[in-house]
């Protein structure tokens, strides 16, 4: 087992009952990172984050520093924090929002300083009522303390931060849909190009959109230096990362682990982490990075939690959520439920996603209930091919955003890994797991 003794970068305060309060935050080095950042130039702050090679923790894994440097030159730029955590089985930002809201705010002000943002918005998923309350409360305190607002901590830097509640739509996690929603519209992803909000973002102005966990790393990086962060992990997977483990494990939870050092086996079976599979059952498969990711089998369990390694093996670390399926889990039913999710959450702009998602869901549901036909297995793959031509990884896109091209992952995984199981459903006219 190789669970390293890496420092807790974003979860250092989680153990305290009062981790969300300003008192606890200040007693544990809170706002020191911001103080240091304000003594540097914005360029120096950005350079430090570049040195850290901090990868975005939202799902796409795009380097945060690069995102900042892509900003179009303009009088007004905005910073938007993506706290619309809705990828099924992902619950890490939920923890950070409720348990350490000041850390997030500190990170937001550091980032706003680095990009000289006119204003910052923290978009929080509407379902997270307590998270919205905690961050709003913390923001009130931070204004009063002087860490947000006018002449921050005695410097000449000023910026306002606004908490914006979402209203329940997975698609708003897509950054252009999030911006539309923030503008008070339906959460329709914008047509690309322009590909990046850094060129055309909120109200048409250049905008940086970063994830909650990404922001929460900034205070530590500024305090300890980008090099100290980059010294953790392997290759381009630097620092630590939150992994949300769920499904058929004994100890589902969020764990902060050093990147690329721990394996999926450690995460699932180590006593200090997942503590093995429920009822001592055997591992059947696992989803390595959110339900948009293709599945892995037990033979891949020794792979490291490394963005590059997982990417090369044909899947992704994505949002950092690992779902464990055991021998009692029906692969078809799992694929059906994931497909049902995408179908329900499709914004409806693009035909392949809106219609294809529904067809796939119906076929899978019929098959799961023993009314499928053998040739429909190929039909499923054919529809998937219309959503993501070639059904390869990373997926090809036929839709405005990647929601559509994410649908085939679970279906293709179930068919490629468990075709025999699907055939039993068809031939015996029932689900063998019922």
């Amino acid at each position: 087992m190789t669970v390293t003794e890496a420092p807790k970068i974003v979860t250092s305060r989680i153990g305290f009952e009062d981790s969300n309060t300003l008192e606890r935050f200040l007693a544990t080095g809170g706002y020191d990172g911001l103080r240091k950042a304000l003594s540097m130039t914005p360029e120096e702050v950005a350079a430090e984050v570049n040195t850290a090679s901090l990868l975005g923790r939202g799902g796409a894994g795009f380097p945060a520093g690069r995102k900042w440097s892509m900003l179009r030159k303009a009088d007004t730029t905005y910073l938007v924090v993506n706290g619309d955590e809705s990828e099924p089985a992902t619950f890490k930002d939920h923890l950070l929002l409720e348990r350490d809201p000041h850390q997030l705010i500190e990170g937001v002000v550091i980032a706003a300083y680095a990009i000289q943002a006119a204003q910052a918005f923290i978009f929080i998923r509407g379902e997270m009522a307590l998270g919205i309350e905690r961050v709003t409360q913390a923001l009130n305190e931070a204004y009063e303390y002087g860490a947000v607002g006018h002449n921050i901590l005695g410097s000449s830097f000023s910026v306002d931060v606004v908490v914006h509640p979402g209203a329940g739509a997975y698609i708003c996690g897509e950054e252009t849909a999030l911006l539309e929603s923030l503008e008070g519209k339906r959460g329709f992803p914008r047509i690309k190009p322009p590909y990046f909000p850094a060129a055309v973002g909120l109200y048409g102005e250049p905008t940086v959109v970063n994830n909650v966990e990404t922001m929460s790393n900034l205070p530590w990086i500024i305090k300890n230096g980008g090099a100290a962060f980059a010294a953790l992990g392997v290759g381009s997977s630097t620092g630590t990362r939150l992994f949300a483990l769920s499904g058929r494990v004994n100890n589902p939870a969020v764990f902060e682990l050093e990147m690329a050092k721990t394996t999926f086996r450690d995460l699932i079976f180590d006593k200090s982490l997942g503590n093995g599979i429920k009822d001592g059952k055997a591992l059947k498969a696992f989803i390595p990075g959110g339900v948009s990711a293709p599945w892995f089998g037990p033979d891949q369990v020794d792979m490291h939690l490394d963005q590059d390694e997982v990417g090369k093996a044909g899947s992704m670390l994505g949002s950092g959520s690992v779902v464990v399926l055991d021998e009692t889990t029906c692969a078809l039913r799992t694929a059906w439920r994931i497909t049902r999710f995408f179908w329900r959450e499709s914004c409806g702009q693009c035909t392949p996603c809106r219609e294809g998602g529904g067809w796939l869901e119906k076929i899978l549901w019929r098959m799961e209930n023993g009314e499928g036909h053998e040739e429909e297995i190929d039909m499923l793959m054919d529809i998937c091919d219309n959503l993501a031509p070639g059904v390869s990884w990373p997926p090809q896109q036929t839709t405005i955003c990647v929601l559509g091209s994410s649908i085939p992952s679970s279906i293709a995984s179930a068919i490629r890994m468990f075709r025999d199981e699907l055939l039993i459903h068809v031939k015996e006219g029932r689900c063998p797991f019922d």
Partner: protein, 217 residues
């Protein structure tokens, strides 16, 4: 006389003042209106439209996109039971079935007494407590059928009034400050002295926010 209470209208204007463009406050104000009525009544929609400067159709068109904004009446307590993959693997569908039987309604509908709406929800990001649900946005997890029954009883008897407020994500905490950065424009930091905590110049009473409009037209 307006349909939305004076307090909500005042809070709505405070929200508008936080954004470069008024329409950005549309969804937050819808949350406020639901805090009053439980759902978005047509008269509330008209007033929201006035406040943010769009047509009522645009408010409804936006609101109808979002799961948490109700364009039809819902029960006093909306129970959103997650059945997504992590919860499904922990027996969420069995729990949903139990809920339907107990409440004698199908998921997606409301009990005749207007007390409970039961919904099949997508992942609510609390998977370490699967199977889990939310009641008006508040989490309850690791629920057995028996726990579910106890929860219903507690809600009925008002035992959870402190934990589960009425509708409205924004009903319990409000922002106490308006915008402070001049013209909303960031300025380069040049600390001239040892940074010390700045006392808030003027802490405002709830609902009484500085109206400082941004420079952008």
């Amino acid at each position: 006389m307006s349909h939305l209470s004076e307090d909500i209208v005042s809070r709505a204007h405070d929200l508008v003042a936080l954004y470069p463009e008024p329409r950005s406050a549309l969804i937050p104000i819808c949350h406020l209106a639901q805090g009053q009525d439980g759902w978005l009544r047509p008269e509330a929609i008209e007033e929201i439209a006035d406040i943010v400067g769009v047509t009522p159709a645009e408010v409804l068109g936006t609101a109808s996109f979002y799961d948490l904004l109700h364009t039809e009446p819902v029960g006093k307590y909306v129970i959103s039971l997650c059945t997504n993959v992590a919860c499904m693997l922990s027996g969420a569908y069995e729990l949903l079935e139990h809920g339907e039987k107990t409440l004698n309604i199908r998921a997606g509908s409301t009990t005749p007494d207007g007390m409970f709406t039961l919904e099949e929800a997508e992942c609510i990001a609390d998977c370490d407590h699967a199977p889990c649900l939310q009641v008006n946005g508040r989490y309850f997890g690791k629920l057995s059928n028996g726990d579910f029954d106890v929860l219903l009883e507690d809600l009925r008897n008002g035992n959870l009034d402190d934990v589960v407020p009425p509708h409205g994500t924004l009903c319990r905490i409000r922002r106490t400050v308006g915008l402070e950065a001049e013209n909303g424009k960031a300025t380069q930091a040049r600390p001239t002295e040892e940074p010390t905590p700045q006392p808030q110049p003027d802490t405002l009473a709830p609902g009484q926010t500085q109206r400082r409009r941004r420079g952008r037209k």
